[in-house]
Subunit: 201 residues, 2 copies
């Protein structure tokens, strides 16, 4: 490996480390029962674990290596663009433009061939048209929902998120495969039983 | 998916979430320049990113899906056994027995077929004999070292870790492929230039 290539990879990893300080709205339960906000690096690991568990359960074949690469890199643009809460309508309106600019900066740190491959994977995830991108999307949306259910719906309550608010995000995930429909369906049942989601507007 | 299977997977994911509260000795730099300890979930995500960057750079072919599954699950035993610092000699002596017992508990939560597959992957990682296990090991060791270099060697200084202390862990990683030798070699150069490692005993 050429010294310039090694240096660029290490510089990229140093920048990427900031994803550990990008906070999401979802919570993590601490050993003492208190909660703190989850960060995007932790979120990405949870997706990888969900993907590991479910890739052999879904009907459509998934190239797991490609899906887990997408999972690992899908939120890197947040280092520059910040996390946009799933139910922040104003933020969602500008999200695509902010994240495209961020992708230039973040993936641009890498050697051209490697940066191009990662950027293409990120664009594939965003486009959501391949089997791997759809699988990764379903894992992503299930994870955010699960994190809310596991932590008493704190983020939902803080932001007044109702069941109807969640459907535009969760319905496409449930449509990816009956496995996601079954798992997310159970989570909806639990959210209802525990009154975790807010009242309809 | 049978209801019992879905319930077991969700129970496992709830337990696995505790990995976000298992603290390592390595640090993460916060936006204000202060540091906090890295947790094992964040560490696993960093490994996945390193694996994503390097899998096509190494000479020996790696099944990336299997390698990234190993990366995602390799520290789950820490939920029960705790993180053992790389340079904690007493802790290392009991680590294998503690982690084997933890594997029973953690992977035992899953349906038998799925728990068996994950446990086999964890054992493969621990044995370190396949291409994927050796690649994941090298990513793991490089990540811990890089995290120390990026954060001013705080954990090394706290625990009096010298260059000689690191060699038994880092030499096998550097032997996996010249790519790891080049990257870790650069990190050693930087650690030396910045006097991050402690004096030899």
């Amino acid at each position: 490996m050429q010294p310039e290539r090694a240096a660029a990879i290490l510089d990229f990893l140093a920048l990427a480390d900031r994803l550990k300080t990008v906070e999401r709205r979802g919570r993590v339960v601490l050993p003492d029962g208190a909660t703190r906000r989850e960060n995007s690096a932790e979120h990405c690991w949870s997706l990888a674990l969900i993907g590991t568990l479910l890739h052999a359960e879904v009907a459509e074949p998934v190239d797991l290596g490609r899906a887990l690469m997408m999972v690992a890199i899908h939120d890197l643009v947040e280092i520059e663009a910040g996390d946009t809460f799933a139910y922040d309508v104003a933020g969602r309106a500008t999200q695509a433009a902010r994240e495209a600019a961020a992708a230039e900066t973040v993936f641009g740190l890498l050697p051209g061939d490697l940066g191009g491959r990662l950027r293409a994977l990120w664009e594939e995830f965003e486009a959501g048209t391949t089997s791997e991108a759809r699988f990764a999307m379903a894992c992503d949306r299930m994870q955010g929902f699960l994190q809310n259910v596991m932590t008493g719906g704190i983020a939902w309550k803080e932001h007044g998120v109702s069941r109807a608010d969640t459907l535009p995000r969760m319905t496409p995930a449930m449509q990816v495969d009956p496995v996601f429909a079954a798992l997310i369906g159970r989570l909806y049942d639990r959210a209802e039983a525990e009154a975790l989601l807010g009242p309809e507007a």
